[in-house]
C-alpha cells in the first residue's frame, strides 16, 4: 500500500448526504475480475449524460478541480453495498482523502486498506469548507496524518480522529494482512481450542 504522510490539495465539493456506493461505482462496472479501469466508472451516472458525454453540471467535470485529490462530501459517505470497487474507483481517479462528518462502516474499512484516508470533521467545519470552496473553487487544504491535523484554506486547523493501528499502516504503507499472518501461531492455538468442521 502507498504511504500517506502529508497532502496539500485542491478540494472537490460534493454537497450531497448519504452518497451510496452504487453512485460511487454503479453495479454495471462490477463484472471485472481485477481493479484496473474502475476510475472510468467513478460517479458515472452523475458524471455522464445519457448520450455518454460529460455532464457539465457535475463537479468532477469542472476544470478547476482537475488534479484535486481531496473529496469533500455531505454526511454518511459510502453507505450501502460492501463493494471495495468504490475506494478502488476513487483512488484510481486520484482521490487520496475524503472529508465528511461520518462514513459508513464498510466503506471506511475498505478505504483504509487502499491508502484512501477518511477524515471525519464536525458539521461546522464541513459547512465552513463548503462555504470556502463555494467562494473560491481553487482553495486548498493540507492534511498532516502524523499530527492528525487538517489545515483549512483560511489557515485554521482542526484535528481529526484515526485509530493508532490504521494510522501506522497508512504512514508506513503497511498491509494489515501482514499483521494477521504474523499472528498465525495465536490463530492456530485458538483453532485448537475449538472443534468445528462443516
Amino acid at each position: 500500500m502507498e504511504c500517506f504522510k502529508t497532502l496539500t490539495s485542491g478540494i472537490i465539493p460534493l454537497a450531497r448526504d448519504d452518497v451510496d456506493t452504487d453512485q460511487i461505482i454503479p453495479a454495471r462496472y462490477l463484472k471485472v475480475t481485477d481493479k484496473a479501469g474502475l476510475a472510468d466508472g467513478l460517479f458515472s451516472s452523475w458524471r455522464y449524460l445519457s448520450d455518454g458525454s460529460p455532464n457539465p453540471e457535475f463537479i468532477l467535470n469542472n476544470h478547476e478541480v482537475q488534479g484535486a485529490q481531496v473529496l469533500l462530501a455531505g454526511d454518511n459517505f459510502g453507505c450501502g453495498s460492501s463493494r471495495e470497487h468504490a475506494p478502488w474507483a476513487l483512488a484510481g481517479w486520484g482521490i487520496r482523502a475524503v472529508i465528511s462528518t461520518s462514513f459508513a462502516d464498510i466503506f471506511r474499512n475498505n478505504a483504509l486498506k487502499n491508502g484512501l484516508l477518511p477524515i471525519v470533521v464536525d458539521a461546522d467545519t464541513q459547512r465552513r469548507l463548503f462555504a470556502m470552496t463555494g467562494e473560491s473553487p481553487t482553495v486548498q487544504v493540507t492534511i498532516d496524518l502524523a499530527s492528525q491535523t487538517l489545515t483549512l484554506p483560511d489557515g485554521s486547523q482542526v484535528s481529526f480522529p484515526i485509530d493508532a493501528f490504521n494510522k501506522t499502516c497508512l504512514l508506513e504503507g503497511l498491509d494489515s494482512l501482514q499483521y494477521l499472518l504474523h499472528h498465525a501461531p495465536e490463530i492456530e492455538a485458538y483453532e485448537r481450542t475449538r472443534g468445528w468442521a462443516l
Binding site: D18, S81, I106, N109, L180, L198
Partner: protein, 466 residues
C-alpha cells in the same frame, strides 16, 4: 458480568486483542460469490498463500447469473468470465462451489440458512453487505470488502474494532397485511440510513419472537440499510425447529450439545446496550419508499413529505434531488401512483413464504396490462418447492414471468433491469438512484404490496385486496 448476545459471540471469537490494535476476530464461516472475490484470490496467488480453512469456506454464484437460462456459455462475456474465474479459483484453492447447474444454488444469503450452514453463535462473513441476513439465527454476520475477503481466505480471521450495541425492541401484534418488511422499513425511516453506523442491532420483543425464520431474515437483511453492519435475533425454538435436519446442521449427539450451547446465547436479562429504540408494530401500516434511499419511506396511506420543512440545507437538497429523480411531488400520495414493473425477489424477500404471500393475492387474478411482473426465487430449492405447490402456475397465469434463482433485478447486473424512467415496486432492499437499472425508479415494499400493485398497475394497499 451480564452480556448481550453480540458480546457473548464476540468474546468467544477474539483470538488476540493487543493494546492499540483492532481485535483479531476468528471467522467460522466464509461465504463467497463471484463479484467480490476475484481480486482476493488473485492477491493470494501473488503472495503464494493457500486458503487457510477451505472447509469453512463456501462459494456460490448469484449476482451476475442469468435468470432466464442456466445454460452455459452465457451471452454476456464479462459475466461469463467472472463465473469462470470463480470456478477456477474454487478448483485451485479447494473450495466447495455451488455451480450454475447445481440444484442447491441460489442467492448466498438464502442458501446459507437453507443448507444449515448458518447456525447460532457463529461468526459469518461474506463480501456482501446483506450478510446481516444470517443474524436472524443468532449469528454475528456482517459484510466485508474484498481486501477483507482476502484476509479471511488467508488467515480465517479479520481485524475488527468492537462495534457498539443497539437494542431494537418491536412490541405488539402486526395487523393483517403488514409484514416484517414493513417493520424494517419503519425502523430505518425512524433512525435514518446512518442511524446504526458503528453499531450492531439486536432485534427483540414479542413482535420479533412471533416472526418465523424467513420473516426474521427479512428483518436482519436490511440492518445495513440502517447503517448497522449486523443485526441479530436471539435463537429460540423457532430457530432450532428451522435448523433441525438441514444438510449441514449438527446431527445426533452433536445436535444435543449444539442446543445446549445455543440456549446459552440470548442476552442476559440485565445486559446493557449502548442505544435503544422501541417501536409498537400494532399501529404499523404497509410501508413504501418514495425517495432514493431506504430511509425515505412513508406509511402507504400518507403523503410524500415536503423538503421545505428540512432546516439543514444539504439535507433539504438531498430530499429535493430524490424527489426530482423520482419525479414525485411533495404532498401528493404514493397510493395510486402508476408502476411499470413489479419485482418480487432478492435476499430480502424471495423465500417460500414471500412467494406464497404474493401468490395468495395473485391467484385467480392477472396483472394490469401495462405492468411487467418478474418473480425470481431466492434459490433453486425454493424454485422447486414453489413449483411443487403450483405457485409458478399462479404467477404465470397472472401473466408474470417465473425465473431461475439469482439476485436479478435487485442489483441489475444480469440483464434483468429497469429502463430509464420506469417505476418499479420492488421487494428488494435498495432504492438508490439507478440501482435497478440506469434511470430506473424504485419503490421498496413488501411482497404483499408488490403483488397488490401488480394487479392494479398502481401502488396499492394490499389490505384492500386481502
Amino acid at each position: 458480568m451480564s452480556k448481550t448476545l453480540f458480546e457473548k459471540i464476540w468474546d468467544r471469537h477474539v483470538v488476540l486483542q493487543e493494546p492499540g490494535s483492532p481485535a483479531i476476530l476468528y471467522i467460522d464461516l466464509h461465504l463467497v460469490h463471484e463479484v467480490t472475490s476475484p481480486q482476493a484470490f488473485e492477491g493470494l496467488r501473488q503472495r503464494g498463500l493457500p486458503v487457510r480453512r477451505p472447509g469453512q469456506t463456501f462459494a456460490t454464484m448469484d449476482h451476475s447469473t442469468p435468470t432466464n437460462t442456466l445454460e452455459l456459455p452465457l451471452m454476456d462475456n464479462m459475466a461469463r468470465r467472472q463465473l469462470q474465474q470463480l470456478q477456477a479459483n474454487c478448483k485451485q484453492f479447494g473450495i466447495r462451489l455451488l455451480d450454475l447447474d447445481n440444484p442447491q444454488r441460489g442467492i448466498v444469503h438464502v442458501i446459507g440458512p437453507e443448507l444449515g450452514l448458518t447456525q447460532p453463535g457463529l461468526t459469518i462473513v461474506c463480501g456482501d453487505s446483506h450478510t446481516s441476513t444470517h443474524g436472524a439465527f443468532g449469528a454475528l454476520a456482517f459484510g466485508i470488502g474484498t481486501s477483507e475477503v482476502e484476509h479471511v481466505l488467508a488467515t480465517q480471521c479479520l481485524l475488527q474494532d468492537r462495534p457498539k450495541t443497539y437494542l431494537v425492541s418491536f412490541s405488539g401484534r402486526l395487523s393483517p397485511g403488514v409484514t416484517a418488511k414493513d417493520m424494517i422499513l419503519a425502523l430505518i425511516g425512524r433512525i435514518g440510513i446512518g442511524g446504526g453506523t458503528g453499531h450492531v442491532f439486536e432485534y427483540s420483543g414479542d413482535a420479533v419472537e412471533a416472526l418465523n425464520m424467513e420473516e426474521r431474515m427479512t428483518l436482519c437483511n436490511m440492518s445495513i440499510e440502517g447503517g448497522a453492519r449486523a443485526g441479530m435475533i436471539a435463537p429460540d425454538d423457532t430457530t432450532f425447529e428451522y435448523l433441525a435436519g438441514r444438510a449441514y446442521a449438527p446431527q445426533g449427539a452433536a445436535w444435543e450439545s449444539a442446543l445446549t450451547n445455543w440456549r446459552s446465547l440470548p442476552s442476559d436479562p440485565d445486559a446493557v446496550y449502548d442505544r435503544q429504540v422501541d417501536i409498537d408494530v400494532s399501529r404499523l401500516e404497509p410501508m413504501v419508499t418514495y425517495g432514493t434511499n431506504p430511509s425515505m419511506s412513508i406509511p402507504i396511506s400518507q403523503r410524500i413529505p415536503d423538503p421545505a420543512i428540512e432546516s439543514d440545507a444539504v439535507r433539504r437538497g438531498s430530499l429535493e434531488r430524490a424527489l426530482s429523480y423520482m419525479d414525485l411531488q411533495p404532498g401528493s400520495p404514493l397510493q395510486g401512483h402508476p408502476v411499470d414493473v413489479v419485482f418480487i425477489g432478492s435476499c430480502t424477500n424471495s423465500r417460500l413464504s414471500d412467494l406464497r404471500q404474493a401468490a395468495n393475492l395473485l391467484r385467480g387474478r392477472v396483472v394490469a396490462d401495462n405492468v411487467r411482473l418478474l418473480v425470481v426465487p431466492g434459490s433453486e430449492s425454493i424454485r422447486r418447492q414453489a413449483e411443487a405447490e403450483g405457485l409458478d402456475r399462479v404467477f404465470k397465469e397472472a401473466n408474470g414471468e417465473w425465473r431461475f434463482a439469482g439476485c436479478s433485478m435487485c442489483i441489475a447486473m444480469n440483464g434483468d433491469q429497469l429502463q430509464p424512467g420506469q417505476y418499479a415496486v420492488s421487494t428488494s432492499n435498495r432504492n438508490f438512484e439507478g440501482r435497478q437499472g440506469q434511470g430506473g425508479r424504485t419503490f421498496l415494499a413488501s411482497p404483499l404490496t408488490a403483488a397488490a400493485s401488480a394487479i392494479t398497475g398502481r401502488i396499492t394497499d394490499p389490505r384492500t385486496l386481502l
